[in-house]
Every structure is written in C-alpha cells, then in structure tokens.
C-alpha cells in the first residue's frame, strides 16, 4: 500500500497545527476545528478563530454525513497518477454540521454524481502517515 501510492499526499503548511486532524483520520474519525469562545466550527484549520481571533480552539467530531455542494468532473490530467480515460470527480462536500470540505467521491461513476447528492465519510489509508478523508455516495 505505502509503496504503491503515487498521487499527491497532503503537504501541511503547519504540521503541528493539523496533526490532530490527520491522527483522527488514521483512527477513522473526522474532526473539525471548533472555537471554545464563539462556538464557530470552521475549516481549514487556523491558529486563531477566523470569527473572533480566539486561540482557545478545540476539535469536534463530525457525524460524517453531508451532501455534494458542487463538483467538477476533472478530465485534464492533474498529476499523472490521477489521469484515467474516465477522469475523476473533485467535489466540495458540505457537512451536515455546516463546514465545507474538498473531497473525491467514491462509490459511483463520475456521471452519477449530482449537486445535493447525500454522501458519507470514508477513510482511505494512503500511507503510514496519512489517511485521506473522502466521501462516498450514500
């Protein structure tokens, strides 16, 4: 598995900040940054709350349920490893709890994806360090 994975792996801009997210994904949980001061749930992770600037931040476990907010069927090669005759779906998933998160969509053909399609989280162990948080058709 580890040696075979040739797509881009996550390259954090601040690995200390996002370590809890990736550790949670490794154990099969989706967690999202939460502000203890103003109750703001937000994504991507930041060092201060984008709503109130508080540094009193925590993580909240999500239900893993959501819907496709929008998507595009990527036909042009992204990275050689992503290239296939059929292309792939790149979507923005809106979680039931509110935040939006980029994701691929599995469990169906690209042509079957539609805006508002219900999806649930899946965890893809791509390397020893990284498990991608993705979504599949419910």
């Amino acid at each position: 598995m580890t040696s075979a994975y040739d797509k881009p792996i996550p390259i954090p801009s601040n690995g200390d900040l996002t370590k809890p997210f990736w550790e949670a994904a490794k154990r099969g949980e989706l967690i999202i940054p939460y502000c203890n001061s103003c109750s703001n749930l937000f994504f991507y992770p930041r060092e201060v709350c984008p709503n109130c600037f508080s540094k009193d931040l925590d993580w909240k476990k999500m239900s893993g349920k959501g819907h496709v907010y929008t998507y595009t069927h990527v036909r042009q090669a992204v990275h050689p490893s992503f290239q296939s005759a059929n292309g792939h779906i790149y979507a923005i998933v809106q979680l039931d709890e509110g935040p939006k998160i980029p994701s691929g969509i599995s469990g169906c053909e690209p042509k079957e994806v539609y805006v508002d399609m219900p999806v649930s989280v899946v965890f893809d162990d791509i390397t020893e360090d990284y498990t991608l948080v993705k979504f599949q058709k419910c």
Partner: protein
C-alpha cells in the same frame, strides 16, 4: 475626497500577446511595453515619477532595468485584479500629489519559470492550504478546477446552459479577429466550436479557458491638469471600487457570487452613474463563467440571467452591448497578470478613440472589472 476625474490615462502600450517570445524575459517585455506607452503619451521617461507594478515584477528591478528613479513605487500583488488595482493606486498617487505621472506596467515570460527551474503553470510551489487539503483529492494545477466548481453550481442554481456561455467565447473571438495584439487574431470560432472543444474540468471546456502566454502592457496616468497639454485625448478615471474576496474558492459562502457585487457598486457611486449608463465593458475573463457571474454582479443583468442575456445580445464591438472588445483574455491570451491589466488598457484605448477597426460606436463610458 473622491478620486472622480482625478486621474487621466494619457498613454498606452502593449507588446502583442503570443504563446511564447523565445529569448525574452518578463523585465525585457515590461520595458518594451513601457517604452510604447511613453511614446504614445508623447513624454520622455524622465517625466515619469511614479511606478506601479503587479508585484511579480519587482518595482526596484523594473526601475533599474529602464533606468528611472521614481519618487513613488509599489507592487500591488492582487493576482488577476492587479491591473485594475494598480490603476486605482496610480490614480490615488497622482491625486494626492505624491507624484505627477505614473507608469503602470506588468508582463509575463513563460521561459522565466523554466530558467528558475520551476515548471510553468503548476500552481502553488510550496506547502499551502492547497497542498494539504486540495491537491490530494485531485485538484488540477492552476485555477481550472475551482471554476469548474462554480460553473456547476451556477447551472444548478440558475439553469445556465453551456451553450449560453459558449456564445460569450465566440463573440469575444470575433472581437479578436482584427486585433493583432491578440494571440488568436485571424482565427474565427463558432459557438458550436466552443461546445465541441474538450472538457477540462466539466462543465468547463478548453475554449472557455485562457491560454497562458507571453506579453506585456503599460499605461501612463497623470493629473487632469497635465493631461490638458498632452497629445492624446485622455481617458479619465471616473470611479474606482475594490472588494477583496477569498483566496480559495471553496472558502466562499456563495460560489455563484463575486466581489464585483460591492466593487462595481462603489465605483458607480463614485462616478455618479448607474449600470444602465454604461456603454461598453471589459470584464476579467480567465474563464467564461467568471466573466458571466461578474456581469450579473455588476448589475448589467439580473442575477442568474447572464445566460439569456448572451443568447439575446450581440456583445461584439459591432453589437448592442460590446463586451471585451479586444477579444478579452479568452481570445487575447493571458500574459500573466498583464492579462487582467489589458482590460484596463482596452477600455482606455476605446475611450481615447484609438481602437481602429474595432472602435465601438459609443465609447465615452466604460466599465472595467479586474
């Protein structure tokens, strides 16, 4: 104090946009465009005491390359909006008396990236929001994927069709046919050609997307008092407005709305006009869908009705409401941030009466969206 009428564009210069200029550099192309604008204005480089660039071209390096020593210099670093923002900053500078005559210049050489050991057009080069959260899921390099996401959402919310936006690309190509500065001059395409071009990020197609190119553009802006004694009929800056949006498209609350909602409203308020007063327009068009959404947000049509507008309206330079009269970036090519800047240049060129065979009939009031 308002900036209304406080800046006069008195000279423009453009190095024709081409796929590549072998053996040229960004600084060399910028200096060439600057020389053309200076000559067009009928001044000498010693008259220039202000310099504004896109920030990719470093102001000290540009000044040194063309041996000028301005009293004011800055780079705006506003991505595609750099040209419009730089024009706003230059107007502010001459209006406040910091300097009198500003050169605004930007350009692009794709070989510069190769020389620096970076593959051209591959997006973020280091750790970023993009590298951690987007690229692992297959986001394409550059901006294609994000605009595919917006396009899909616009279809979902408003029933916009791919054919309607294909018409935009075809109209703009007509405008580029006799424009020797445009990379696709002399190469007509139809709405069907656009529809039949291959998908890049479906629903976004190849002929709805800009082509990275080489080139450069420059303008000279000065005070209205100085402009009175100069050789060209000036293009006056009547209103400016800026609204900063998100860096990453998926951070927006609404994917089908652009910051033009606020920036255009502010510009029109300063100028004292309404959208129906506008005679022709130059809209930033890295992709059809962005120009489409901005045309709605500017108030030229109701939100969601840009598709029917294109079905019903001839937007060529001969038409009822000309848009992107030089072909825009879709048919002109995108020489880096000079691509967006060219919208300012073309708007000024038309107002100055210098557009030749593609001169629009009513050319007094132009809206430029960067």
């Amino acid at each position: 104090m308002s900036l209304r009428g406080r800046g006069a564009i008195v000279g423009i210069g453009e190095v024709p946009t081409r796929r590549i200029y072998e053996g040229r550099s960004m600084y060399g192309l910028c200096a060439e465009a600057a020389g053309l604008a200076i000559a067009d204005a009928g001044i000498t480089k010693n008259d220039i005491d202000g310099l504004v660039t896109d920030g990719v071209a470093l102001p000290p390096a540009i000044a040194e390359y063309m041996d000028i020593k301005p009293n004011f210099a800055t780079g705006v670093s506003m991505q595609g909006a750099s040209g419009a923002t730089a024009t706003m900053v230059a107007t502010s500078a001459v209006s406040s008396g910091i300097c009198n005559t500003v050169l605004v210049v930007m350009g692009n050489s794709r070989q510069d990236a190769e020389r620096a050991g970076r593959p051209a057009g591959r997006g973020a080069s280091g750790p970023s929001v993009r590298s951690e959260w987007e690229e692992p899921h297959g986001m394409a390099p550059g901006a294609n994927t994000g605009y595919g996401l917006m396009y899909r959402r616009h279809i979902h919310e408003y029933g916009t069709t791919e054919e309607q936006l294909a018409k935009m690309a075809a109209d703009q190509r007509f405008n580029a046919l006799e424009n020797e500065n445009a990379v696709f001059n002399g190469q007509p395409i139809s709405t069907e050609d656009v529809l039949n071009s291959r998908y890049i990020n479906e629903p976004l197609k190849l002929l709805e997307s800009v082509m990275p190119c080489d080139g450069a553009a420059a303008l000279i802006i000065t005070t209205p008092e100085r402009a009175k004694n100069m050789k060209n009929k000036p293009a006056y800056v009547l209103g400016v407005g800026l609204k900063q949006g998100e860096a990453n498209i998926w951070q927006r609350d609404i994917f089908t709305e652009t910051p033009a909602v606020d920036s255009v409203r502010r510009a029109l308020e300063m100028a004292g006009y309404t959208p129906s007063d506008i005679e022709f327009a130059e809209f930033y068009d890295c992709y059809t869908i962005l120009a489409a959404m901005c045309i709605e947000d500017a108030g030229l049509v109701k939100k969601g009705e840009v598709g029917p507008f294109y079905e019903e309206t001839d937007t060529t330079y001969k038409g009822a409401f000309p848009i992107n009269t030089d072909g825009g970036q879709l048919s002109g090519g995108q020489p880096g941030l000079a691509g967006g800047f060219r919208h300012v240049i073309e708007g000024a060129r038309q107002v100055m009466g210098k557009a030749g065979s593609r001169q629009v009939e009513k050319s007094d009031l132009c809206l430029v969206n960067g």
